[in-house]
Amino acid sequence: MTKELIELRVNGRTHQLASEPNRLLLDVLRQDLGLTGSKRGCDDSSCGACAVLIDGVPMLACTMLAASCQGAEITTVEGIASEGALNAIQKAYGEWGGSQCGYCTPGFMITVKHLLENNPEPTEDEIRRALSGNLCRCTGYVQMFDAIKAAIRAEQESER
C-alpha cells in the first residue's frame, strides 16, 4: 500500500510522517513516534490500555486510523506528567497501589484525567462507571478508587 504524508499533533508537538492510510493510530504512536506508553492489550477495543485523548476526549488508539486524527490534538500518557513531575493522580496511584503490573495504567491515567477534568468531585459510583471501559487484571480496582479519591483530596488541598 502506498504511503501518504500525514501530520499528527501529539502532546503539543507536530509530527509529519509517511504512513499507509490503513495504519492504526496506536501503531503509529508506538512504532513511528516511539511513544510506547500507550499499550496494546486486546486488539478489539475492549480493554482500554491504548486510550489517548483526542481533542480532550478518551478514544481507543487500537481501533482508530492514524490518518483520521489529522488536525486533532492528541494527548498520550507521556503528555500527562506536568513539567517532568508526576501529577496528583500519578503520585496517588503509587501510594495507594493503583497499579501493580502497570500495563493498564497508562490507559487508566487518560481516563481518570478526563474524568477529573470534567467532574472534579465524582462520587464512587461515577468513578466506577467512568473506569468501566478500562480493564485491569491485577488490582481488583479497589485501590484505584482509593487513589483517585486521594488525588482529589490532594488537588483540593493544593488549591487552598
Binding site: G41, D44, C47, V77, T105, R137, C138, Y141
Partner: protein, 827 residues
C-alpha cells in the same frame, strides 16, 4: 506495631512512576535496529498428521526473510523434566487447534501476515478427544504415543486409613463438583525479542540475547540452551517490565523458542508478540476439573476422612500438568486437620491447548469442592459453618498426615476477623430484611491456603532457590542484584525494603538491578508465591553481610567493638549512650562508614542465598515433592451476595477477606495482592470460562471472556493477619495467591444461603443459577447432586480471526460421532 523503619510501612512500588508515566518498557515496547517481525501459522485442526508442508511460495513474497518450521528446532522441551513433549513448531503432528506449525519472518507485520496465507500444509486428520473422561477410554490414535489411554499421569495416594475413617463417620457426604477452564488474561500479551551477536572469532552467530515477558528467566535460559543446542552462558535472558503473569508466563511459551530459532535462521533480531486471540489459544490456564468428593464427618463436625477423585482436562501437552494434579491432592491436607485422606488424581490429555499453572495452582478447584462440601455437612449437622471449621483446625507446629510441615497458622485469627467484621453471626441466614420480591441476599464463608514457594525446585538440584548480590560503592549507592522476576507483584520493592531495613538506610539509596542473566544471580522465578519468602531471605542475608562489614569498619574507626554499634536512619552509633559525652566519636554517618569500609576491605560486596530446610521438603512417597513449602499462608472469607431469582444473576455485594501473610512487609502491596486474588476468584465464580466446542475456543478475546470490570467489582475489605513465621524474612509469608481459592466457595455458599440451591459447577452463570432454581422448584431435590441442566449447551459462533491455514473444520469421521453423542447428551 513494630519498631521497624521500612518494613511494615505502606510503600509505593519503586517503579510506580515508570508505570504511571508510560516510561517503563515492556518487551513489545523495545525496538532494535533491523528488527524483524515473526508471525506464527497455527493449526486449524485439533489432531492431525502433517503430510506435507511447503513454504516456498511464502518465502518468495517481497519482504519475507525466511520461514521457520519444526525441522529448524526438533529438540523437545517442557517445563518439567518428566514432560518434555513439546517442540517449538510441529514436527509431524498437530495436537490442538492453534498448535504451532510454521513462523514467517518478515520486515513488517503486514508482509508476514500475507505470507502466512501462502504456506501450503496438507493434513491427514486424526480422531480428536475433547472430554477427559472420553479421552481416558481411548485405545488408539493417542495424543502422545507414550501415554496409554491419554493419561499424562495418575496418582493414588492413601494417608491414614480412609475406609476406616469413612466407616466411623456419622454422616458421609458425596457429590461431584465441576470447575470449568479459566485463563490468566494478563493485560500484556506474551512477547519476545531474540537477537544474536556476531562472534568476534568465528564471524558466525554467537551469543543469543532474549528479551521476554517471562516469570521464569532462568528456565527460559535453560530451555533455549537445550533446544538451540547452545551452552547456557551463550544465552542471555533479559526480563523487562512484565505486564502480569498469574502463572501464564511461568513456563517457556512456544513463541519464546520460536523467536530464538527464527532469529538464528534470519540472521537478524526477531520480535514475536501474540495477538490477544493467540494469547487465548496458547493460554495454559487452569484446567477444567472434575472432583468427586466423599467426606465423612462426626456429629460434632469433626472430619473423619476425605476421599477425592480428581480429573483434570490437561490439553495436548504436559506443561505443568503433573505438578497441577499433585498440588490438587497435596493441599487437601494442609488447611484442616484431616486424619485420613484418599486421593486419586488423573491428569488427562485432550486435543485442546495445554493447561498449566494459574494463580492458586492446582488447589483452587479442589478447594471449591471441599469448602462447598463442608458447608453442606454443616447444614446437615445443623452447625454454623464457621464453627464446623473451628472443630477441624490444625495444631501447629505439626506435620500433616501427608507430610507437610506447618509452623505458623493464622487461620483461626482469619476466621475470627471475617466473622466479626461481616457480622456473620448476626446477619447470616437472616437477610430477609434485604429481600425484595425476587431478590434474595445471602452470606457464605470459606477458607483457603497456599504455599510460600515450592520447597523443591522444578529441576531437582542442590543449588540455592534464590541468590541476591549486593554491591556498595563509593558513590554511596546500595545496588542490589536479583534474578527474582518482578511481574507486577512488587518483588523488587520488597527486596529493596528488606535491604534498606537491614542496613538501616533509606529506601532511596537502594537500587534494584533485576532480571538480566548476565548480571543477576540465578533465581528460580516468580511462581508458587516464592519470591518474598525465598528472595527476601536471600536479600536479608546479603544485607546482613554488608552490614557486618560496615559495622566492622566503623568500629575500627570509632575504637570500639562492632557489637557495641547499632544503625538507624543512616547513623551508626554506639548503643551505650554513656559514650555520647566522651570523645565526640559516638556516631558516624552511613556515607562515612561506607568510605571506611571500602578503605578497609577494598570493594564492599556480599551475596546471600536461600534454600528451604530439609525438614520442609516433604515425605518420601511418589509425588511427595509437590506441596511441601517452608511456610503456608491462610485465608478466610465471607461473601455477601444478592441473587435475582428471575434472571439467575448473582451480584456480589461485599467480600471480607482475611489473609495470614506472616508479616506484611508492605501493607499496600499485601492488600493489593489479596484484593486482586479475591477479584480473580470472583471472576472464576461468576463469569469467567473458556468455552470450547470441538477444540475451538468460542470466546477468544477480552470481550467474550469477560472479567469483572470496575462497575461490577464488589467492595472488598482486605484484613491482614500476621502470624510472623519463624523462617520467613521478618516473618513474612505468601500473599499473592492463597486468597483466591476461598472466594469461589464463599460465593457458592452465599448463594445457597440466599436461595437454597447448590451450584456445583463453576462459574455460577445466570443460566446455571436459573437452571438450579428451576430444578429445585420442580423436584425439591437437595441441591447436592450434579445437575446436567446447569451445563451450557448453547455456544456462540466462533468469531475470531486466528491465522489458520486450510478450509476450516474438516473433522475426522469419528469426531462427528463424538459430536452427535455430545449433542444427545449420552457421552
Amino acid at each position: 506495631m513494630s519498631d521497624f523503619a521500612t518494613i511494615g510501612k505502606p510503600t509505593a512500588m519503586i517503579d510506580s512512576a515508570q508505570k504511571a508515566t508510560g516510561q517503563g518498557k515492556y518487551t513489545d515496547d523495545i525496538a532494535l535496529p533491523g528488527l524483524l517481525i515473526g508471525k506464527i501459522l497455527h493449526s486449524p485442526h485439533p489432531h492431525a498428521r502433517i503430510v506435507r508442508l511447503d513454504s516456498s511460495r511464502a518465502e518468495l513474497l517481497e519482504g519475507v526473510v525466511c520461514v521457520v518450521t519444526g525441522k529448524d528446532a526438533p529438540n523437545k522441551y517442557g517445563i518439567l523434566p518428566v514432560g518434555h513433549d513439546e517442540t517449538a513448531l510441529a514436527i509431524d503432528r498437530v495436537r490442538y487447534v492453534g498448535d504451532n506449525v510454521a513462523c514467517v519472518v518478515a520486515i513488517d507485520e503486514a508482509s508476514a501476515e500475507r505470507a502466512l496465507d501462502l504456506i501450503d500444509v496438507e493434513y491427514e486428520l486424526l480422531p480428536a478427544y475433547f472430554d477427559p473422561e472420553e479421552a481416558m477410554k481411548a485405545e488408539r490414535d493417542l495424543i502422545h504415543d507414550s501415554r496409554p489411554h491419554n493419561v499424562e499421569k495418575e496418582y493414588h495416594h492413601v494417608f491414614g486409613d480412609p475406609e476406616r475413617g469413612l466407616s466411623e463417620a456419622d454422616i458421609v457426604h458425596e457429590a461431584r463438583y465441576l470447575a470449568n477452564e479459566v485463563t490468566h488474561a494478563a493485560m500484556e500479551p506474551h512477547s519476545t525479542i531474540a537477537a544474536f551477536e556476531i562472534d568476534s572469532q568465528t564471524g558466525q552467530p554467537g551469543r543469543l540475547t532474549v528479551w521476554s515477558s517471562t516469570q521464569v528467566p532462568y528456565y527460559l535460559q535453560h530451555t533455549l540452551a537445550a533446544v538451540l543446542e547452545m551452552a547456557m552462558p551463550q544465552v542471555r535472558v533479559i526480563k523487562p517490565l512484565v505486564g502480569g503473569g498469574f502463572g501464564g508466563k511461568s513456563e517457556v511459551i512456544p513463541l519464546e523458542v520460536i523467536a530464538a530459532v527464527a532469529a538464528r535462521k534470519a540472521k537478524a533480531p526477531v520480535k514475536i508478540t501474540y495477538t490477544r486471540e493467540e494469547v487465548f489459544w496458547a493460554h495454559r490456564g487452569r484446567p477444567r476439573t472434575i472432583v468427586d468428593l466423599k467426606i465423612g464427618a462426626k456429629r460434632d463436625g469433626r472430619i473423619s476422612a476425605v476421599s477425592a477423585r480428581v480429573v483434570q482436562d490437561g490439553g495436548a501437552y504436559c506443561s505443568y500438568g503433573v505438578v497441577t494434579i499433585l498440588y490438587s491432592g497435596a493441599l487437601l491436607g494442609a488447611l484442616y486437620d484431616i486424619p485420613h485422606i484418599r486421593f486419586d488424581g488423573y491428569r488427562v490429555l485432550t486435543n485442546k491447548p495445554a493447561c498449566g499453572a494459574m494463580r492458586g495452582h492446582g488447589t483452587v478447584n479442589v478447594r471449591f469442592a471441599l469448602e462447598c462440601a463442608l458447608d453442606e455437612i454443616a447444614a446437615r449437622l445443623q452447625l454454623d459453618p464457621a464453627e464446623l471449621r473451628r472443630h477441624n483446625l490444625l495444631q501447629p507446629p505439626c506435620v500433616t498426615v501427608n507430610g507437610l510441615r506447618v509452623l505458623s497458622y493464622g487461620l483461626p485469627e482469619c476466621m475470627e476477623m471475617v466473622v466479626e467484621r461481616s457480622q456473620w453471626r448476626q446477619r447470616r441466614g437472616k437477610l430477609a430484611s434485604g429481600r425484595t420480591e425476587k431478590r434474595a441476599r445471602g452470606f457464605g464463608l470459606a477458607c483457603s491456603h497456599y504455599v510460600s514457594g515450592a520447597a523443591n525446585a522444578i529441576i531437582r538440584s542442590d543449588m540455592p532457590h534464590s541468590t541476591v548480590n549486593i554491591k556498595v560503592d563509593r558513590d554511596g549507592a546500595v545496588t542490589v542484584y536479583t534474578g527474582a522476576a518482578e511481574i507486577g507483584q512488587g518483588s523488587s520493592t520488597i527486596t529493596a525494603q528488606v535491604v534498606a531495613e537491614v542496613l538501616g538506610c533509606c529506601l532511596g539509596r537502594v537500587r534494584i538491578v533485576s532480571g538480566d542473566s548476565d548480571v543477576t544471580p540465578v533465581d528460580l522465578g516468580s511462581y508458587s508465591s516464592r519470591v518474598t519468602f525465598m528472595s527476601g531471605n536471600a536479600a536479608m542475608r546479603a544485607a546482613e553481610s554488608i552490614l557486618n562489614q560496615l559495622l566492622a569498619a566503623a568500629a575500627r574507626r570509632m575504637g570500639c567493638d562492632p557489637d557495641e554499634l547499632a544503625i538507624h536512619d543512616e547513623i551508626i552509633f554506639r548503643r551505650d549512650e554513656a559514650h555520647k559525652a566522651s570523645a565526640g566519636a559516638w556516631s558516624m554517618s552511613f556515607d562515612q562508614a561506607i568510605i571506611c569500609a571500602i578503605e578497609n576491605f577494598g570493594a564492599l560486596s556480599a551475596s546471600g542465598w536461600y534454600s528451604p530446610p530439609a525438614e520442609a521438603r516433604g515425605g518420601s512417597y511418589k509425588g511427595a515433592g509437590v506441596g511441601p513449602s517452608p511456610a503456608y499462608s491462610y485465608s478466610a472469607q465471607v461473601a455477601e451476595v444478592e441473587v435475582d431469582e428471575e434472571t439467575g444473576h448473582v451480584t456480589v455485594l461485599n467480600i471480607w477477606a482475611a489473609h495470614d501473610c506472616g508479616r506484611a512487609l508492605n501493607p499496600v502491596a499485601v492488600e493489593g495482592q489479596v484484593i486482586g486474588s479475591v477479584w480473580m476468584g470472583l471472576g472464576q465464580a461468576l463469569q469467567e470460562e473458556m468455552i470450547w466446542k470441538d477444540g475451538l475456543i468460542m470466546n477468544p478475546g477480552l470481550l467474550g471472556y469477560a472479567s469483572p470490570s470496575s462497575a461490577e467489582s464488589p467492595h472488598v475489605e482486605a484484613i491482614i493477619v500476621e502470624s510472623v513465621d519463624p523462617e520467613g524474612p521478618f516473618g513474612a509469608k505468601e500473599a499473592g495467591e492463597g486468597s483466591l481459592a476461598a472466594t469461589i466457595p464463599a460465593i457458592a455458599n452465599a448463594i445457597y444461603d440466599a436461595v437454597g440451591v447448590r451450584l456445583n459447577e463453576a462459574p455460577f452463570t445466570p443460566e446455571r443459577v436459573l437452571a438450579a432454581l428451576r430444578a429445585k422448584d420442580k423436584t425439591h431435590r437437595p441441591g447436592t447432586e450434579h445437575d446436567a441442566a446447569t451445563t451450557p449447551n448453547r455456544f456462540r459462533e466462533h468469531g475470531g480471526a486466528l491465522r489458520i491455514s486450510g478450509k476450516g473444520q474438516q473433522r475426522h469421521e469419528s469426531d462427528a460421532i463424538h459430536v452427535q453423542q455430545a449433542e444427545r447428551g449420552d457421552q
